[in-house]
Amino acid sequence: MITLEKRPQPSRAWSLATPLLAVLLTMICGGLLFAALGKNPFETIRTIFLDPLFSEFAWFYRPQLLIKGAPLVLIAIGLSFGFRAGIWNIGAEGQYIVGAICGAAVGLAFYPTESFIIFPLMIIAGILGGTLWAMIPGILRVKFGTNEILVSLMLVYVAEQLMASMALGALRNPDGMGFPGSRNLSQYPSAANLEIIAGSGMHWGVVTALIAVILAYIALSRHIFGFNVRLAGQSPRAAKFAGVNPAAMILICMGLSGGLAGAAGLFEVAGPAGQVSIDFNVGYGFTAIIVAFLGRLHPVGILLAGGLMALTYIGGEIAQSNLGLPLAAIQLMQGMLLFFLLAVDVLTNYAVRFGRRQVA
């Protein structure tokens, strides 16, 4: 008989081991799934997890890893503060979109002026756009007690429609012969989020994501803000007793995650995506939720998890084109990762006992 016994305190060893175990279980079950689809499971797993790094064409895929990983890490870092404090911003995708729209709009407004000040202004606009979009569920929660999960999620769909309307209306390229989509910002030097080292994939968003990881680490381990975030999440009443203002905490955490999501949107629209278009967003804001939890809401963990998630994105694309695997199978596998992580998480707080049936 198997029983679970609560540990007196969470096990450090297991909290480090569970993400690895989750990845391993995902590989096993993913392999079974791919086998059931009639593919060679070993080849598929190798294609997804190893080919982007070590295959013949890895020179092409490695920069992609940074390009895909940066927005995931940036958004997930912001989300991790809210998640730790028990504030559930599920709408990072919407904040990402609005950040992209606002940042791009500033850039397009200056077109075709060239100035070094344009790109920084765009970043600020992106951050502000994401923050303001996140303030809507934040303020509604503080003032009226609405559920921020629902409001932030529904605002994603509003943001998507806003994006479509911008691509077809206000921000449409006047020289685009009526095609939807804005001017291509990556071809407008003052507004382009270019690679810092050509061919490396290293754009300003990657740099920002790395800085965010370091700052988040310092805030969480050394600063009273991070301490209050953790306290508010673990024991809201104790946090109030310790002097944490719950309403301020909600607004700060929503603003932080919205701001970083907005920045990620700006870096994407000015760089890899290049333009405001109907199909701009590809779900980074949602995947970042998985990344945040896969990284155990810890900045360094998020960095590693973001890399892993980017790997499965790229590996998944390779598997789609080379092995003819359906996209749904890849997405299923990504979902499995979060599922297994949450499932094995129980080991951190509970010890498993394979006990004989007790006498009693």
């Binding site: 050394r222 673990q234 024991s235 007793f241 002097g243 009693a360």
Partner: protein, 507 residues
């Protein structure tokens, strides 16, 4: 010699790192009121949970009426005739009494039938209770009656009661004891757990004393003094707090017509509380739980803001200051609920020290934490207040209730407050730890600080208070010198019969 109702033989239960029960054996006869005594962590809870089917022993046997008794779960224990009233009630505030009782039943009969049964049982045992009332509106004593009646409807052979009187007024205790005596007279055995030794002396026929999981003695409580029993529990001589006489100091904290609406649906509004507290004084505030204690602490700690003039600290209006600003000027508080309010269960003791000591102990510079300094402070609390734990890196929830309470109180006292507000400082704490905490409060007052001690333990309040006041429905009675107050006078103050109000004592 008749067959005992319940016989425990060699019960042993080990948890990782600790043996909760070791070779525990004793017997309970039908109709006997049997006390189970022991410090916190002595293994009382594990033992009763074993009997109630919540814990499976590693070895040992139980027999109930001569047949082997191995309850796999509480349901099986209830079916065999064992019922339990827990210290913490498991009732839904928003439902009425009959609905709450139906929820605990396997096949609940229709509401009307339950209501009729409740009325019948409550008449029979002198426990007044209206089955149609919403539980959220009941006093703690009435809630306990719901739990007891829920048990009595099962017609139990053995009734286990865990700390039943901690939330009751003396009058309510008397009613409860009448009921228990009647039950025992009808042949129901009662296993009674309490820290209050005088109660055990008046009520119980036999007592089994546990220490560190082992039975260290049995005694006849009627023939043994409370002090002897306490010493049997702790294994050493008991240290009784000493109170030094002192002159009245100047006023340090003044409450002026402090009123506040109830913070939530089942909270209590504070009404027009006016009192001055002077330096070096211990003000004891008694009252039945739910009469505004939590709200008063919140208004003093800064968790609940009130108009500035309502709370004055050394003449300054501070009613609107947030918690840390109040700590800075020297007004500290320790709320009742340890886990999740006074301390964060999953955080380490060092982190829990930062929680309230950050301002006064200068544990931050520009928001950056001084971990080494915080750790030293936590270690100081652990050492000075004899907190039993391997070290400050351990999570708060790994500590026993009494040890965590020592840590929480010690954390505030070591910050040298000018005014310390404590709510239920020794609730669920064993005798020796309770004595240490009370002594620490008295020492603090002797150094010139004012201490406001809110408690439901009247013996405690009488032991340490200079003045005594009672909270009743959010109103505070006029304070009276604690010396010379009789139990009857206190009971009337608690019941709200002070001044011109009409007595409102149930039953």
């Amino acid at each position: 010699m008749t067959e005992p109702l319940l016989r425990l033989t060699g019960l042993t239960k080990a948890y990782p790192g600790v043996v909760a029960n070791k070779d525990v054996s004793f017997e309970i006869q039908p109709g006997e009121v049997h006390a189970l005594l022991g410090e916190n962590g002595a293994g009382k809870s594990t033992l009763v949970k074993t009997i109630y089917g919540l814990v499976k022993p590693d070895s040992g046997t139980m027999t109930l009426e001569g047949t082997t008794f191995t309850p796999a779960e509480p349901r099986a224990a209830r079916a065999a005739g064992v019922a339990m009233v827990f210290q913490h009630f498991s009732l839904f505030d928003a439902m009425n009494v009959a609905e709450n009782i139906a929820l605990g039943m396997e096949n609940p009969p229709p509401q009307r039938e339950i209501a009729a049964q409740v009325r019948k049982v409550s008449d029979q045992y002198g426990l007044p209770l209206d089955p149609d009332r919403i539980v959220g509106e009941l006093s703690a004593g009435e809630r306990q009656r719901v739990e007891i009646i829920r048990c009595l409807l099962q017609d139990p052979k053995l009734l286990i009661m865990d700390e039943p009187t901690s939330v009751l007024t003396p009058q309510e205790v008397a009613i409860l004891f009448e009921t228990l005596k009647q039950l025992s007279g009808e042949g129901t055995a009662i296993l009674y757990i309490s820290h209050k030794l005088e109660e055990i002396r008046t009520l119980c026929d036999n007592a089994t004393v546990l220490r560190l999981g082992e039975v260290v003695g049995e005694c006849d409580p009627k023939a043994t003094s409370a002090r002897e029993m306490a010493e049997l529990m702790v294994g050493t001589k008991l240290h009784v707090p000493e109170k030094a006489a002192k002159p009245a100091g100047e006023t340090v904290l003044a409450l002026q017509a402090l009123s506040a609406p109830a913070p939530h649906q089942f909270g209590t509004a504070l009404r027009d509380i006016t009192i001055d507290i002077s330096k070096g004084e211990v003000l004891g505030i008694g009252g039945v739980a739910g009469n505004g204690q939590d709200e008063l602490v919140a208004a003093l700690s800064g968790e609940m803001r009130v108009a500035p003039d309502m709370v004055q600290f050394q003449g300054q209006p501070i009613g609107q200051l947030p918690p840390n600003a109040r700590r800075k000027i020297g007004l500290l508080a320790a709320p009742e609920e340890r886990m999740g309010h006074a301390a964060a269960p999953d955080m380490s003791l060092t982190e829990n020290a930062i929680m309230t000591a950050m301002t006064r102990e200068n544990l931050t510079t520009k928001g950056f934490l001084h971990w080494a300094k915080a750790k030293r402070f936590a270690e100081g609390v652990i050492k000075d207040f004899d907190v039993r734990t391997p070290g400050p890196a351990n999570a708060a929830r790994s500590l026993s209730g009494g040890n965590l309470q020592k840590f929480v109180i010690g954390r505030e006292i070591l910050q040298a407050p000018d005014v310390l507000v404590v709510n239920q400082p020794t609730w669920g704490v064993d005798a020796s730890a309770a004595a240490a905490i009370r002594q620490a409060l008295l020492d603090l007052a002797a150094k010139g600080a004012a201490v406001i001690c809110i408690s439901q333990d009247l013996d405690e309040l009488m032991e340490i208070s200079d003045r005594f006041a009672a909270l009743n429905e959010g109103r505070l009675s006029a304070p009276r010198p604690a010396q010379g107050l009789t139990v009857e006078e206190i009971g009337l103050m608690l019941g709200g019969a002070h001044d011109m109000e009409v007595a409102h004592v149930d039953a």
